[in-house]
């Protein structure tokens, strides 16, 4: 029944996630010399109030201030990373297997008791403000931000994760402390461990180090439904136009639909023989580049197509994409192109999960979102769900999610 793929991944089973004092833990031992840990905290920017915009991201910076964490990681030859997004703040590291027992408690301590030194705060504010300037020099970031802002309108998903410059400039240390107290709670944390790990040891490290955090129930951000929209903007730094089309997709509780949207994206622009790349880039030669994908999030994420092209081709490219999607909603998909897209998507997953750190990130993120079946049986479920999709399933998904009333279109042009 299962055509291929599952045989390509041979791993001991994932340990079922568990709740130690509110923390969710998921472990996947692998043959490796290193251990990877990924901690996801449900404290992203979408949970911020109007006045505390930028706090989640600024706090991520402050967690590291005044610590020896970088030294600890780098002296073992490890690597670490941190990032803030709409739904979460994310901390990860990879170290030689023996380093796990010292590194995990150290990070736990940083997360539970940041130093919050007033001088450090002022110094780091300069860095955070430079980061905002840095992003405004990146045209892809600017265009994408405009799409989010337009598509989500009043919902917090419409705001920049970094926060607006003037709001961030006014943030105080007390704002960050308040944000930390409210959101950095065990019930709000998911930890994924992969690679050369001893599960009993990981459990005891988590129990000892993450239970002492004060417990507060997680807050829920209210859902405000976005409204469909359209926006044209001139950006002087551009040398080519950008066309971004974003449809309001599904949310994490329907993650199978999310995989279906990934499959549609692969079918449309995953590779040179895919439908839109073949037509728009190779055949008509209207676009230079096509990109995009679906972002699975807590609340409905965007299914995005973005094209780099000359201004005179913007209109016809948009019409062509809309026509293609309406064909799809009528079931006009060939069995060959579906089979090809399924295989590409399944193989990309197998290729990506070869690396312990990528797997930790996949498991941590999807466990945090509550996609437990997907994580507990990741070696088979992902590919089984993808391989089981039929033309009628894609037709249904296109009708349900990729309709004109869920669409936002952003056009960014180099000059009027």
């Amino acid at each position: 029944m299962y055509p291929h793929g599952s045989s390509a991944i041979d791993r001991p089973p994932v340990t079922h996630q568990e709740y130690c004092g509110g923390v969710t833990l998921i472990c996947q031992p692998m043959v490796s010399a290193s251990a990877s840990v990924d901690i996801w905290i449900g404290a992203g920017s979408a949970i911020e109030t109007e006045e505390e915009q930028g706090s989640a991201h600024f706090l991520e910076h402050m967690i590291f201030r005044g610590t020896e964490f970088d030294y600890l990681i780098e002296s073992q030859g490890g690597v670490s990373n941190a990032a803030t997004s709409l739904d979460y703040t994310h901390f990860s590291f990879t170290v030689p297997a023996a380093g796990l027992a010292t590194t995990l408690p150290y990070l736990a301590h940083m997360l539970s008791q940041p130093r919050f030194d007033p001088e450090d705060f002022e110094q780091e504010k300069l860095v955070v403000l430079e980061e905002i300037n840095y992003c405004y020099d990146d045209p892809e970031w600017v265009c994408h931000q405009l799409l989010q802002q337009t598509a989500y309108n009043a919902h917090n998903y419409g705001r920049s994760v970094l926060g607006a410059y003037p709001v961030v400039a006014k943030l105080t240390l007390a704002d960050l402390q308040k944000f930390h107290r409210r959101h950095y709670t065990p019930a709000n944390m998911t930890i994924a461990c992969t690679g050369a790990i001893d599960i009993a040891l990981v459990r005891s490290l988590v129990a000892e180090n993450f239970l002492q955090l004060p417990y507060h129930p997680p807050l829920q951000a209210g859902i405000i439904f976005p409204k469909a929209n359209r926006c044209v903007k001139y950006l002087p730094q551009l040398h080519h136009a950008r066309l971004l089309m974003g449809w309001l997709g599904t949310s994490a509780e329907r993650w199978e639909d999310g995989l279906g949207l990934d499959l549609i994206a692969t079918l449309l622009w995953g590779g040179r023989s895919s439908r839109l790349v073949h037509e728009l880039r190779e055949d008509y030669q209207w676009v230079h580049d096509l990109d995009g994908g679906f972002a699975l999030q807590k609340y409905p994420g965007l299914f995005t197509i973005s094209a780099t092209l000359e201004p005179e081709y913007v209109e016809r490219t948009e019409s062509h994409i809309l026509r293609t999607l309406s064909h799809m909603a009528r079931g006009k998909i060939s069995p060959q192109e579906l089979a090809k897209a399924k295989r590409s998507l399944c193989n990309s997953f197998i290729f990506a999960m070869e690396c312990p750190a990528r797997l930790a990130s996949f498991l941590g993120y999807h466990t945090m979102l509550g996609c437990h079946d997907l994580c507990n049986h990741w070696t088979t479920v992902y590919n089984e769900v993808v391989m089981s999709m039929e033309i009628a399933d894609l037709q249904y998904l296109a009708q349900r999610y990729l309709s004109p009333d869920r669409l936002t279109v952003i056009t960014c042009l180099p000059h009027p």
């Binding site: 291929h4 045989s7 390509a8 991944i9 041979d10 290193s34 590291f64 201030r65 970088d70 030294y71 780098e74 002296s75 073992q76 030859g77 490890g78 690597v79 670490s80 990879t94 030689p96 110094q123 780091e124 504010k125 300069l126 860095v127 430079e130 980061e131 300037n133 840095y134 405004y136 020099d137 990146d138 045209p139 002087p236 730094q237 551009l238 040398h239 080519h240 590779g271 040179r272 023989s273 895919s274 073949h278 880039r281 190779e282 030669q285 230079h288 780099t308 089979a339 090809k340 295989r343 590409s344 998507l345 399944c346 193989n347 990309s348 197998i350 290729f351 070869e354 690396c355 312990p356």
Partner: protein, 407 residues
């Protein structure tokens, strides 16, 4: 993991790394010289070859090749770099033989069809234009010209609009004939494939590949250029400040010391530039240094993006941090930290099959042999504070500086 090396009669070198952890194979086909053979008049030639080589053979059209690859969920790509041209493939093990056969055909019998050439030329010209949207790219390209002049290392990978417009099918064919030849080829295979099977496949599809043409002369190293300071006006939020010094090639006895210098200055959040210029002075969000591994003269470049009013502090800061290493010996504890960092990251960069194929194939292609892997790690361990200071003194003389900022 065990590595096996074979040399075929026609000069092909095969490196085979058997790794049964996951049921896939990554194969990389490295050809010597990369863009080194470009003249300023043909800048962009090797990039255009990589864009075109998968777009038609004597047997298959561009579209058929894409279909064959994508219907198996495989990956096929080609890229040019300063010292080599590489074709990458990744497949499930069960598909490997058929993708290997197709790749062999692409290497041996590409046709570079005119209609595809027009498309790729157009897209390359657009890509050149798009670089103007990124202040870092502008600074980087300009710096390469200052450091390496008319040598290929000084030329932008995509070429210039005027050179790309004039490249023809005949140029691509000549390049293929002269440089993509069995005695310039190193194949690195990593994954769930035995060395015997690897050798059989290479012999079957590439064993009878012979070229009647004599090998062209080896490219020459770049000539030293005078240090230059340059300001490029561009309306941006941040100014880019880049301070660069010519640096030793991978074959130099002090290469490991130079890698440690770059690690100490610019790698990770505990690096010197990050701590001094970002954490203590709040000058930048992004501040770093890079030292690419090169067959000929390389560069040590330190750079940051900063607010326009901080340009002078940024420039002084970057330059002083480099000079400091020439003036005083690094305390042993700091040197040890840099060693752990460099060796640890090196180990982590050899985890997946494609990373393994990349590392060993590249070394072999540079003429260092796969043993360089061990040799390099031992050399890093052995670097002393004196050696590091001596290497810094040689490197950190007068820098070239590029600033991209409004007015």
């Amino acid at each position: 993991m065990e590595r096996h090396k074979y040399t075929l009669d026609n000069g092909i070198t095969l490196i085979s790394i058997e790794n049964p952890a996951v049921d896939l194979v990554s194969a990389k086909f490295f050809f010597r010289y990369g863009t080194q053979v470009e003249t300023p008049e043909q800048a962009g030639l090797v990039h255009l070859v990589t864009a075109m080589i998968t777009k038609g053979t004597e047997v298959h059209t561009a579209q058929e090749i894409a279909e064959l690859i994508e219907s198996r969920g495989a990956v096929l790509s080609a890229e040019a770099s300063a010292d080599y041209l590489v074709i990458n493939t990744k497949t499930l093990t069960s598909d490997f033989a058929s993708i290997f056969a197709l790749t062999s055909e692409i290497l041996r019998r590409p046709t570079f069809p005119e209609s595809e050439l027009e498309l790729e030329r157009y897209l390359t010209l657009q890509g050149i234009k798009a670089k103007q949207e990124r202040p870092f790219s502008i600074a980087y390209d300009q710096m390469q010209t200052l450091l390496f002049g008319k040598h290929s290392y000084g030329l932008p990978l995509l070429g210039f609009p005027e050179t790309v417009s004039q490249l023809t099918q005949a140029h691509l064919q000549t390049y293929h004939r002269q440089y993509l030849r069995p005695d310039h080829l190193v194949i690195a295979l990593a994954g769930n494939l035995s060395p015997d099977r690897a050798l059989t496949l290479v012999q079957e599809y590439l064993g009878d590949w012979h070229t009647p043409h004599p090998a062209p002369p080896s490219p020459q190293p770049p000539q030293p250029q005078p240090p230059t300071h340059l300001h490029i006006p561009k309306a941006t939020q941040q100014a880019i400040v880049m301070v660069s010094y010519p640096a030793i090639p991978v074959t130099d006895a002090n290469y490991s010391a130079m890698k440690l210098i770059a690690t100490y200055l610019g790698s990770g959040l505990s690096s010197r530039l990050f701590v001094e210029l970002r954490e203590k002075q709040g000058l930048a969000y992004e501040v770093s240094a890079f030292y690419p591994t090169r067959q000929f003269t390389s560069q040590l470049s330190a750079y940051m993006g900063t607010a326009p009013q901080n340009i002078d502090r940024a420039k002084t800061g970057l330059e002083q941090e480099c000079q400091r290493l020439a003036e005083t010996a690094l305390p042993p504890a700091e040197l040890d930290l840099a060693k752990s960092k460099l060796l640890g990251q090196y180990a982590l960069s050899k985890q997946t099959n494609s990373q393994l194929a990349q590392t060993y194939g590249w070394y072999e292609c540079l003429g260092l042999s796969v043993d360089f892997d061990q040799h390099y790690q031992a050399q890093v361990q052995a670097v002393t504070p004196e050696q590091l200071q001596h290497t810094a003194q040689q490197c950190f003389q007068a820098p070239s500086i590029v600033i991209v900022s409004a007015n």
